[in-house]
């Protein structure tokens, strides 16, 4: 036994890295600053940060779906929209408290996603993408047929419901801001924990080779289904929150592929698909471009499209791939790293 080469080396599995620990500290400090923002920042800044927070959550979720589970959906707006509509229906029809309604809307989205998955999972690869799009189209047309929910023109939350969140406007702004932060942090933490779990390992295996992982006993169908449903839950919850903030919903806004899917996909692709860091970088790039090109109409979308195409052709791992690889940084250590050490201090067993 002693003679074999493998025995002479000692391995250990390491997950966190010095960089990740430093980043965790920086993130904690940054988060503290953000949480205290309402006491020193302007309302406009708060709104922008809140928007960034829910887009970051959407981007992490889409990245989980497409980058890890290989489910390239272009129809996630279906869950944003149904989440939003459920919130409105629950508050308006049954008088449910808006904050509770957000949670129920998430559950409702998850429940709906299950039969949806059974249908669209019959389509493979890129056809799955178009299939999810059709589902979203159906949902948009369906909600437009319901006059009780405002039909095609949409409707607004009543002032009573709005006041149920918090009686005063300033307090409401603060509460909604904190909720946006809380949801974003919760979603990131959830994705992080999921990727570090056994499911995460299975997902990485599926991403790398679906056939090989199946032969190793990974139940890819069930893993993908699980990811699809939990993503729907989170997306529905986000949708409910987003439209509680917007106070008004219409089929076009609720199921907008541009707002809830196109920009999210661009963020993830430009930042770096299949990493947790990528969506964050992509989010910053997206918002920087949007603010800079605000006066040029839809040119920012054109530019964003060109950048995304260029990234896919030239640097498939995105901006984060270029940075992270260069410096071997892993702020989100979701990987298990096999560390080889000089042998001797452990008994061969």
């Amino acid at each position: 036994m002693n003679g074999t080469a493998a025995r002479a080396l000692q391995f250990s599995v390491e997950r966190s890295t010095p960089v990740s620990r430093i980043c965790a500290v920086i993130a904690a400090l940054g988060l503290t600053a953000l949480v205290s923002l309402p006491y020193w920042g302007e309302t406009g800044t708060m709104r922008l940060i809140a928007e960034m927070a829910y887009f970051l959550a959407l981007a992490q979720l889409w990245n989980l779906l497409a980058g890890y589970a290989g489910l390239v959906s272009v129809g996630q707006q279906v869950y944003v929209g149904t989440g939003g509509y459920f919130l409105f229906a629950l508050c308006d029809w049954y008088g449910v408290h808006p904050l509770l309604a957000i949670l129920i809307a998430g559950v409702a989205a998850a429940v709906i996603s299950l039969p949806m998955a059974l249908v669209v999972f019959r389509l493979r690869g890129a056809y799955f993408a178009v299939g999810t799009w059709v589902v979203a189209e159906i949902a948009q047309l369906f909600f437009a047929q319901l006059p009780q929910l405002g039909g095609g023109s949409g409707y607004s939350l009543t002032p009573e419901i709005v006041r149920a969140v918090a009686p005063e406007r300033a307090a409401r702004e603060m509460l909604m801001y904190w909720m946006a932060l809380a949801i974003a942090v919760a979603v990131i933490a959830f994705v992080y924990i999921l990727l570090r779990s056994r499911h995460g390992l299975a997902l990485t295996a599926i991403r790398d080779s679906e056939v090989a992982s199946e032969s190793l006993g990974v139940d890819t169908y069930r893993t993908k289904l699980l990811i699809y449903v939990v993503t729907a839950f989170c997306t529905g919850l986000l949708g409910a929150f987003i439209f509680l903030q917007k106070l008004r919903i219409s089929p076009e806004a609720a199921f907008s592929i541009n707002d809830w899917t196109v920009v999210v996909i661009f963020m993830v692709v430009i930042g770096g698909i299949g990493t947790m860091e990528g969506p964050i970088i992509g989010l910053l790039i997206y918002f920087a471009m949007r603010e800079l090109l605000a006066d040029y109409g839809s040119w920012y979308l054109i530019l964003l499209g060109i950048v995304a195409v260029a990234v896919m052709l030239g640097a498939r791992e995105g901006v984060w791939g270029l940075i992270g690889k260069r410096f071997d940084l892993h702020p989100f250590p979701v990987r298990r790293r096999l560390i080889q050490r000089p042998g001797g201090d452990e008994k061969p067993g």
Partner: protein, 307 residues
């Protein structure tokens, strides 16, 4: 339920069937690119709209009849398709589906927004003159519009031509061989990059043909692409991936469902729940028919036997 007897069933079926021809024409380009290089072109619908705008420019600049503009637009789009594949899409092909999917998705957004910047959001339509409203009466007192009939005939001829190309010519043989096994095809002297580019050229040529006919029949705007991609996609999936004539059947089923949607399902729903009739039932019924077929026969009605 008296009103059901007032429905012009023959008319509904014929209208639906004829529009199904247009959907089959839409589907050809999508189907060809997928069949030969496993490329699902998310921007397909936007290429239809792009072709329609190109036709509009040609018609406005030259004053020619829209149908004559086909002779200009089709070769132009063939060249564009070739260049697009050779210069861009070939580099996305590989084991992962993400690059082609996301690059064509990016193209879709780019095309839509460029069209929006250049032409504005107004809806457009090409004017084909008297033939738009002309109709003929078939035996059994059924009236059929000449233009929809023309579209259907063009669809039949196109599918026939494609069938001939794929199964009776040297090029078609090479297409099928590459589709089976690209590496071995290369060993047989086939230049896959060139062949893929030809395939995309042909796909866009058929798309251009479909687009000119579509732009006379229906008004369009820069955002009309996605829904046309979805119609093409539904026709392809209903018919069965890779089945040429299945695509026509898929298009017809979609067309007839939509036709039933606007003339039967919509009014029925409005009768039952008391809403005003909504025009969206046309599209919604088509989508629902697609979902039902996807649930009942996930491989489509005419699945390709060897795949």
């Amino acid at each position: 339920m008296n009103w059901l007897t007032d429905v012009d069933w023959a008319g509904v079926l014929i209208q639906g069937t004829l529009i199904g021809g247009l959907y089959a024409l839409f589907a050809i380009g999508l189907s060809l690119a997928f069949g030969i290089m496993r490329l699902v072109n998310i921007a397909h619908g936007d290429f239809i709209v792009l072709c329609a705008y190109v036709a509009m420019i040609v018609v406005n600049a030259s004053g020619m009849h829209p149908l004559v503009s086909i002779a200009v637009v089709v070769p132009l789009m063939f060249v564009l398709g070739y260049v697009l594949q050779r210069g861009l899409l070939n580099f996305t092909l590989g084991p992962s589906i993400l690059p082609p999917l996301l690059v064509t998705f990016g193209l879709s957004v780019i095309i839509q927004n460029v069209l929006l910047e250049v032409f504005g959001a107004d809806t457009r339509r090409l004017n084909a003159g008297a033939m738009e409203t002309a109709s003929i009466t078939l035996p059994g007192d059924v009236t059929v519009g000449v233009f929809p009939l023309l579209i259907f005939v063009v669809a039949l001829v196109s599918l026939g031509a494609l069938q001939y190309l794929l199964y009776r010519t040297r090029l078609g043989r090479a297409f099928r061989a590459t589709s089976d096994d690209a590496d071995t095809a290369e060993l047989m002297g086939i230049d896959n990059r060139h062949l893929y580019s030809l395939a995309m050229g042909i796909a866009l040529a058929f798309t251009a043909l479909a687009a000119v006919l579509f732009s006379v029949r229906t008004s369009f705007d820069p955002a009309s692409g996605p829904i046309n991609l979805i119609f093409a996609f539904e026709a392809v999936i209903i018919g069965g991936l890779g089945s040429l004539w299945g695509t026509l059947v898929g298009g017809i089923i979609l067309g007839v469902s939509q036709s039933l949607g606007s003339s039967v399902v919509g009014p029925l729903v409005s009768l039952l729940i008391g809403n005003p009739v909504s025009a969206q039932w046309q599209i919604l019924t088509g989508h629902i028919a697609f979902m039902i077929i996807l649930i009942v026969k996930p491989d489509g009605l005419f699945p390709r036997i060897r795949d």
